[in-house]
C-alpha cells in the first residue's frame, strides 16, 4: 500500500490556481522529494498533505486514510515540520517535547522514556534543559524533528527542512533523516528547491506552476537530458547564440547571461567552440546533466530563483 496517494488534487486561492490536478503515489519507506521553485505549488500541496487546509478537489490519502474525511486519523500518522520553527523559545527542549507529547495523548513515564529516545535519535540529549531560543538553527531543526517523531509517526512531512542551515548542519540533518528511513522504516516526504537535497531523495516529483512535470528517480530524470550539458557564460549571449546556430546548427537556451545546451559529445563541441569562437565567452562548463538541467529543459526556466532569505526574526 502506498504511504501517500495524491489523486487529481487541484487548489485555488480565489482566482489564482496553485495546483492544477496533481497525481502521484509515495511508497512506504521511501524518501520522496517535491522539487520546484517558489510558487510552484509545493507548499500548497504540503499544507494539504499536513491537513492544514481543506481539499478543494481531488483526493489525498495518507496511510490509507482519506485526509478530508478522517483528518484526525491522518494527523496521528504524520509528523510535520514547517519552515517556520514551531518550538516555543521560552521553553526548554525537554519542555517543548513534553507539551508535544501531551498533544498526542502521551503522558507520565511513557512520555518521559519516549522523549529520551527521540532526543538520543537526533543527538540533542545534551541540550535537554536549554531554552529553545538559545539553540543554533541546525539544532533547532533537529529538536523540531525530534518533536514530531514523539508519537512514532509512519510518515514524516518536512517543508524545506534545510532552509537557513549551513552546509554542515544540512549534512547532519540529512544523515538523521536517512537513518530514520533505514532503521525505522519511516516514509519521508520533503519539499525543496535545493538540488543538493533533491539528489538525496529516492524519487522526485518536479512541480512547476501547479503542474507535475516529471516524476521519477534522480537518475531517470537526468536521462531526460541526453548526453552532456554545456553551460557558456558570455557577455553577449544573444550574439553568441546566433553564432552557435549559424555555425554549428545548435539551439541554445538562454538563462540570464548564460547559454545552455545539450550535446551527445560535449567534450568535442567544447574544443570546437573554443577554437572557432575565441573571445566570445567568459567560461564554458561541461558536465553530466544535473536535476537543474532537467528542470530547465522541461520548463525553460531555472529552478533556484534566488529568493530573499527571510530576515531573522527579532526576539520579542
Amino acid at each position: 500500500m502506498p504511504a501517500v496517494v495524491v489523486d487529481h488534487v487541484a487548489h485555488h486561492y480565489g482566482e489564482r490556481q496553485a495546483l492544477a490536478g496533481v497525481s502521484f503515489d509515495v511508497q512506504a519507506g521511501e524518501v520522496f522529494g517535491l522539487l520546484g521553485p517558489n510558487g510552484s505549488g509545493k507548499t500548497t500541496l504540503f499544507r494539504l498533505l499536513s491537513t492544514l487546509m481543506p481539499i478543494q478537489s481531488g483526493r489525498v490519502e495518507i496511510g490509507g486514510r482519506d485526509a478530508s474525511q478522517q483528518p484526525d486519523g491522518v494527523r496521528q500518522l504524520i509528523g510535520v515540520t514547517f519552515q517556520s520553527p514551531s518550538l516555543d523559545g521560552k521553553l526548554t527542549v525537554q519542555e517543548n517535547l513534553k507539551h508535544q507529547g501531551h498533544l498526542y495523548g502521551l503522558s507520565g513515564r511513557a512520555l518521559k522514556a519516549r522523549c529520551q529516545e527521540v532526543m538520543a535519535l537526533l543527538n540533542v540529549t545534551d541540550r535537554a534543559s536549554q531554552y529553545a531560543e538559545t539553540l543554533s538553527g541546525g539544532l533547532k531543526r533537529r529538536v523540531e524533528i525530534a518533536k514530531c517523531l514523539l508519537h512514532s509517526p509512519q510518515i514524516l512531512l518536512l517543508d524545506e527542512p534545510s532552509t537557513g542551515l549551513d552546509p554542515g548542519a544540512r549534512h547532519d540533518l540529512w544523515n538523521a533523516l536517512e537513518s530514520l528511513q533505514r532503521n525505522q522504516g519511516v516514509t519521508v516526504l520533503v519539499t525543496t528547491h535545493l538540488m543538493e537535497e533533491a539528489e538525496r531523495c529516492h524519487r522526485l516529483a518536479l512541480l512547476d506552476s501547479g503542474n507535475l512535470i516529471a516524476l521519477g528517480k534522480p537518475d531517470e530524470l537526468r536521462e531526460l537530458v541526453g548526453g552532456d550539458s554545456l553551460t557558456i557564460q558570455a557577455d553577449q549571449p544573444d550574439v553568441l547564440a546566433q553564432e552557435l546556430s549559424g555555425r554549428f546548427g545548435l539551439s541554445a537556451q538562454r538563462i540570464g547571461n548564460a547559454l545552455r545546451l545539450e550535446h551527445e559529445r560535449g567534450y568535442e563541441l567544447i574544443t570546437e567552440i573554443a577554437t572557432q569562437l575565441p573571445g566570445t565567452f567568459r567560461s564554458m562548463t561541461l558536465g553530466k546533466p544535473t536535476l537543474e538541467d532537467v528542470f530547465i529543459k522541461l520548463t525553460g526556466h531555472q529552478l533556484e530563483v534566488v529568493a530573499p532569505e527571510p530576515a531573522n526574526k527579532k526576539k520579542h
Binding site: G63, D72, Q76, F82, Q83, P85, G105
Partner: protein
C-alpha cells in the same frame, strides 16, 4: 484499498483534557518567565491606584458623601484596579495567539489530533489562571500599602463569602476578557494591530465599566456604562468586597451581575471556538 482495512490506531486518550491542560500550563510558564510582562501587568495598575488615589481622593464622592457610608477613592478604585490587572494579563496572553501563529507554534498544534476547542480552552484558561492569581493577590495585598503610607486605611470585607465571591467574579471577568482578546487576536495578524484594538476597545471598555468612576453624572455616559458587560463584573466584585455599611444602591443588583458576567464569559468562549473551527486556512 479502503480505510477500514488499516489497523486502527487508538485515538489519543483524554485528548481534549491533555491538550487543554498542556496549552494552559505552557501559557503560565511562558508568562512567568517573561519578567517584564509580570511587572507590566501588575506594576502599572498598582502605580495607577496609588497615584490616582492620591490625586483624586479629595474630589471624589460615592455612596453618600464623606459620611460613614461613603468611600474613599482608593476604596472605590480598588476593584477597578483588580479588573485592570486582569485586563492587562488577558491582553498579554491573547497577544501570544498572534505570536504563536507567526512563529509557527500554532501550526504544530493544528496538525496534532486535538479538538480545536481545546486550543481555545487552553489559551483562555492559562490566561485566566494568571489573571486570577494576580488580581486576587492584589486585593489581598493592597490594603497593606496603608502601612507604608501609600494609601489611606482600606476597610474591606474579608469574610469567606467575600473571598469566594471575589474569586468567582475575578474568574468570570478573566474568562470573558481573555476570550474577548482571543477573538481579536485570532483575526489580527500583527502585534501592532492588536495594540490599536487595545487602546480603542479594551481600555475604553475598562474605563466605562464603573471601575474608574461611577459616571452617574451624565446620561449618555451612564448608558454606555450600563451597556458594557464588564460593568456587571466590576459591580459584582465591588459588592462582594465592600464592607456591609457601604451604600451600593446605585450599583446593579447582584443577580444581574452574576448573570451578565457568566453569560458574557460563555458567549465569548463559544465565539472563540466558532471562529477557530471556521478558520480553515490558519497560517
Amino acid at each position: 484499498m479502503t480505510a477500514s482495512t488499516v489497523s486502527p490506531l487508538s485515538p489519543p486518550r483524554h485528548a481534549w483534557f491533555w491538550a487543554s491542560f498542556t496549552l494552559a500550563w505552557r501559557e503560565v510558564v511562558r508568562f512567568l518567565r517573561q519578567r517584564s510582562r509580570v511587572t507590566g501587568a501588575i506594576g502599572q495598575p498598582i502605580l495607577f491606584w496609588i497615584l490616582f488615589g492620591a490625586g483624586l481622593s479629595g474630589s471624589f464622592q460615592f455612596g453618600g458623601g464623606s459620611g460613614t457610608n461613603g468611600m474613599t477613592f482608593q476604596e472605590y478604585f480598588l476593584p477597578g484596579v483588580a479588573v485592570m490587572i486582569i485586563l492587562f494579563t488577558s491582553i498579554f496572553s491573547s497577544i501570544s495567539v498572534i505570536q504563536d501563529r507567526n512563529e509557527g507554534f500554532l501550526q504544530g498544534v493544528l496538525v496534532a489530533p486535538v479538538p480545536r476547542s481545546s486550543i481555545v480552552v487552553g489559551k483562555v484558561l492559562g490566561g485566566t489562571a494568571l489573571a486570577l492569581l494576580q488580581g486576587f493577590l492584589f486585593i489581598l495585598a493592597a490594603p497593606l500599602l496603608h502601612y507604608v503610607g501609600l494609601a489611606p486605611p482600606i476597610s474591606l470585607e474579608f469574610t469567606t463569602t467575600g473571598i469566594l465571591g471575589s474569586i468567582f467574579f475575578l474568574t468570570g471577568i478573566a474568562i470573558g476578557l481573555t476570550a474577548l482578546g482571543y477573538l481579536f487576536a485570532w483575526k489580527i495578524d500583527s502585534v501592532q494591530g492588536y495594540h490599536a484594538v487595545m487602546s480603542l476597545v479594551l481600555l475604553p471598555m475598562w474605563l466605562l465599566s464603573g471601575a474608574f468612576f461611577p459616571g452617574t453624572g451624565s446620561l449618555w455616559l451612564s448608558w454606555l456604562i450600563r451597556l458594557n458587560p464588564l460593568t456587571y463584573g466590576v459591580a459584582g466584585l465591588r459588592r462582594v468586597i465592600s464592607r456591609p455599611s457601604a451604600d451600593l444602591s446605585s450599583l446593579p443588583p447582584m443577580w444581574l451581575c452574576i448573570t451578565v458576567t457568566v453569560a458574557f464569559a460563555l458567549l465569548m468562549l463559544v465565539l472563540d471556538v466558532w471562529i477557530t473551527r471556521k478558520d480553515k486556512t490558519v497560517k
